[in-house]
């Protein structure tokens, strides 16, 4: 039943392609630890969910949060603390971490939505930096520069020290998160998100409480980022300051624009590429992650703003456009075509 719903909601694609994509996606998710070092496989799926969480804001609602590390990282800490203190399976710790983050995101969201466009990016970045400084100062809880170490992988008495098995224990949680994001995007709520992205003033004029929607999407996005960050912390056994630092916020943004924002599949693809690339650089002993990330930013923004997934989709659609061109344009989340928001000052 879920499958038929999935197929219905991804209208605009040919049915064979849509089912094919889902099957391939699921097969890839299940087969990933066979293809690579399992912790890297888990990193890909966790960062994938994190990137998709940001895509809800950036790609679908048109809000560039440049401070999402705050939520990913805070959940890494909160999950770690819960997992260490409470003897429950790590699912509960992750859920607890994500809930803590949702509670943290609510006041931040309410403040941030008071500005939009480029201001929103600056304000989210600034609040994330505040969280970073707090994490840095609050050594008793976060361990400061040493980080929070020794996060256990408790799971109904099953031994998950082998990362191969841990991957399959954690996968359902991450897939549920992805499914949740996907459901939101293809719901009436998701249509309002897109309406806000396309024309905020019109959405407001139609009677939608725009700010309330924005806060809701923000908190939801933070919650999903929290699920991802929590799983990441359990997987690595620690949470560090790196997780709340602004380079992490930048990394998840680059995953979005490289993969293609507003596409859901794209950010996952972007996450896979960036995680693999960083792993390659690390094993090759090349210490220039920021340099490479910076170059990817510049090249993507200058040369292919649709991102990889967006470009592929665009090519596929323009090829089939003669047959059903109205459907082809409908869901194209190409940011360039957006009306530029009026400059504020």
């Amino acid at each position: 039943m879920i499958l038929t719903r999935l197929v219905k909601a991804t209208s605009g694609w040919s049915p064979v392609l849509r089912i094919g994509m889902l099957v391939v996606g699921l097969a890839l998710a299940l087969g990933l630890p066979w293809m690579m070092y399992p912790p890297i496989a888990l990193d890909i799926v966790a960062w994938g969910l994190f990137a998709v969480a940001l895509d809800l804001l950036l790609g679908y609602t048109g809000m560039l949060s440049f401070g999402h590390a705050a939520f990913w990282g805070s959940s890494a800490y909160a999950t770690g603390i819960i997992a260490k203190q409470v003897g429950l399976p790590f699912y509960f710790a992750v859920l607890g971490g994500a809930l803590v983050v949702a509670a943290l995101a609510l006041p931040i969201a309410m403040l941030c939505v008071r500005r939009s466009g480029i201001y929103f990016a600056m304000v989210t970045l600034a609040f994330a930096q505040m969280i970073y400084f707090i994490a840095n100062q609050w050594r008793a809880v976060t361990g400061g520069e040493n980080g929070l170490q020794g996060v256990p992988r408790r799971f109904f008495g099953v031994d998950l020290t082998d990362s191969f098995y841990f991957y399959y224990a954690a996968l359902p949680l991450l897939l549920l998160g992805l499914l949740g994001a996907w459901r939101v995007v293809h719901s009436p709520f998701g249509r309002v998100m897109v309406a806000i992205r396309e024309n905020q003033a019109r959405a407001r004029a139609l009677g939608y409480p725009v700010d309330r929607y924005k806060v809701q999407v923000f908190v939801l996005s933070a919650f999903l980022a929290g699920v991802a960050g929590g799983v990441y912390a359990v997987s690595h056994g620690f949470a560090s300051l790196q997780e709340v630092y602004w380079t992490t916020s930048g990394k998840v943004v680059v995953m979005n624009i490289l993969g293609g924002m507003g596409t859901l599949w794209g950010p996952v693809l972007g996450a896979a590429i960036i995680v693999q690339l960083e792993d390659y650089l690390a094993t090759a002993g090349i210490d220039a992650t920021n340099l490479v990330t910076g170059v990817i930013f510049v090249v993507t923004v200058l040369l292919f703003r649709r991102g990889i997934w967006g470009t592929v989709r665009y090519l596929v659609r323009s090829r089939t456009a003669t047959r059903h061109d109205s459907a082809a344009d409908e869901e194209d989340a190409e940011a360039e075509s957006r009306p530029a928001p009026a400059r504020q000052g």
Partner: protein, 291 residues
């Protein structure tokens, strides 16, 4: 009492750097509608420029104060022509992302070349030592930084409000198309203004070299504080940015003195308060129609 005054002075000196950086950021934003993430990286390059000139060519600080901003200003103009300009007609976030990428590249290149340890930079001899300010003595160099930043801020304000060039820049900031239709070539001013903003960041960097740690990271966390500063002051408002720069400088220094654990957080708390009570910023005007 003199202790309090001394904190006030420390705050004003810290604020001088915030003010110069926020000023450049604001002028660029006003003219181009671009928030330049690489501003902190150019501040860092300014300090490294002074270091390299001294280290390899033996050029002293005073010459660096003149040469480095001009050099970086030219680099900024090239950057604007080559990259920023091509994204100007798009969603403004693209330029934010572009300059973010540029910042990462510049910062990592400097780190790869010079490592993470701070480079030493001596104080210029004339400005070494203390000066008696009546109530207390204060390092000469810090006094010079404060005076120079105030003079520069006032100069920029005078140029913007009292000259023809300033009038054109302000008019383009307000209504670029209308200014264009009145027969003024707005595009001609875009590149120089961008270069000027970068030059100011470079100048702040040269000023920082003798009193702050010169390393590749020095601009990274700073730029985020500067973002908070311009949100507090009102981005695009020259007076607001400069004033907020000094206010934040004082807030951090007083915080450092009384509640050191929270000093870094105070600026963001102030930003939250401003967003709550006056979202357009202390000196910003209310947004027209929210987009």
């Amino acid at each position: 009492m003199s202790g309090l005054l001394q904190q006030l002075f420390n705050g004003l000196v810290s604020g001088s750097f915030y003010a110069l950086l926020a000023l450049g950021l604001s002028v660029i934003f006003g003219m181009l509608g671009v928030v330049n993430f690489a501003h902190g990286a150019f501040y860092m390059l300014g300090a490294f420029g002074a270091f390299v000139l001294l280290d390899s060519a033996g050029l002293n600080w005073w010459l660096a104060l003149l040469v480095v901003p001009i050099l970086l200003g030219v680099i900024g103009m090239v950057l604007e022509r080559a990259f920023v300009h091509r994204l100007m007609h798009l969603f403004p976030l693209y330029n934010f992302l572009l300059t973010f990428g540029i910042a990462l590249i510049l910062q990592d290149l400097i780190r790869l070349k010079y490592g993470v340890t701070s480079q030493p930079y001596p104080r210029p001899t004339i400005l070494d030592g203390m000066v008696d300010l009546g109530v207390f003595t204060y390092p000469k160099y810090q006094v010079f930084v404060l005076v120079l930043s105030i003079v520069l801020s006032v100069l920029v304000w005078l140029v913007l409000t009292r000259t023809r060039v300033g009038m054109i820049v302000r008019a383009s900031t307000e209504r670029a198309e209308l200014t264009q239709s009145l027969g003024i070539d707005v595009r001609r001013w875009v590149t120089p203004v961008f270069g000027f903003g970068i030059a100011l960041a470079g100048l702040a960097g040269v000023l920082a070299a003798p009193m702050r740690a010169v390393n590749s990271e020095m601009g990274a966390d700073l730029i985020i504080v500067i973002f908070a500063v311009v949100v507090i002051g009102g981005l695009g408002s020259v007076v607001g940015s400069v004033a907020a720069g000094y206010i934040v400088g004082m807030l951090t220094e007083f915080g450092n003195f009384y509640i050191p654990a929270l000093s870094q957080i105070l600026v963001f708390v102030l930003m939250a308060l401003v967003l709550l009570l006056r979202p357009a910023g202390l000196f910003g005007r209310e947004e027209g129609s929210p987009a």
